[in-house]
Symmetry: C2
Amino acid sequence: VSAPTCAACDRKWPPERLRIGDLGLTVAYLNEDQFLPGWTIMVLKRHATELHQLSADERHGLVDELSRLAQALGDEYTAAKMNYELLGNQVAHIHWHVIPRRPDDPAPRAPVWTVEHAPRRLDDAKAAARITSLQGRLGL
Amino acid sequence: VSAPTCAACDRKWPPERLRIGDLGLTVAYLNEDQFLPGWTIMVLKRHATELHQLSADERHGLVDELSRLAQALGDEYTAAKMNYELLGNQVAHIHWHVIPRRPDDPAPRAPVWTVEHAPRRLDDAKAAARITSLQGRLGL
């Protein structure tokens, strides 16, 4: 099931160059802005906008993939805490922001959205290196 | 399992007057600041800080309770979108912010943390009315 005006269903977002890999029900992508290293987006393959629209099996698979991805990101980036956010205020299609919070974070006690910063977009080589390392950790 | 210095395990937070009810693995509380009506906190009963520390059964139960609560809040507050956030940057003990985003929200496209506002603390009667209505909807 896809929705005609959905940027995720139309594959307009996230950009393909940031694709980490297929986790089963979802696909993981490095977030464009890497000011917090390892910020990842995990997108449900089919179109849905709320958890209750999923079957119980889908919901369980979704949270297991979220857990697996977060554990890998936490290990890779030596996170003190992981943040898991399903918002959808701009793109309603179910996608999780999975964000390692490191002890040397500019504001480790604050939500990421309030941290003022210059966006950090990686060049292709740096993005690919980050992605390859995560693929190895995830066995993808 | 509880942690000796954890505000959630010590029952110092969230405040008991805001308790909505027991969902099984978790307990739901109205958020102290109700500037966005229906903002709710769903706290895991046992101490854990990351999803991968839970058994698969616990993780599945957790996401089912999250889904059930979010659906009830979405209906009660006629939300255009629900936000689901597991952060733990200040209190690491697993708790979800479950937030109805309404079309008349001051900034419906933005994360709640960036919305400047005067905190809105309900008096006891208003908080109790909100809680009673949610308990009815959840069958608690």
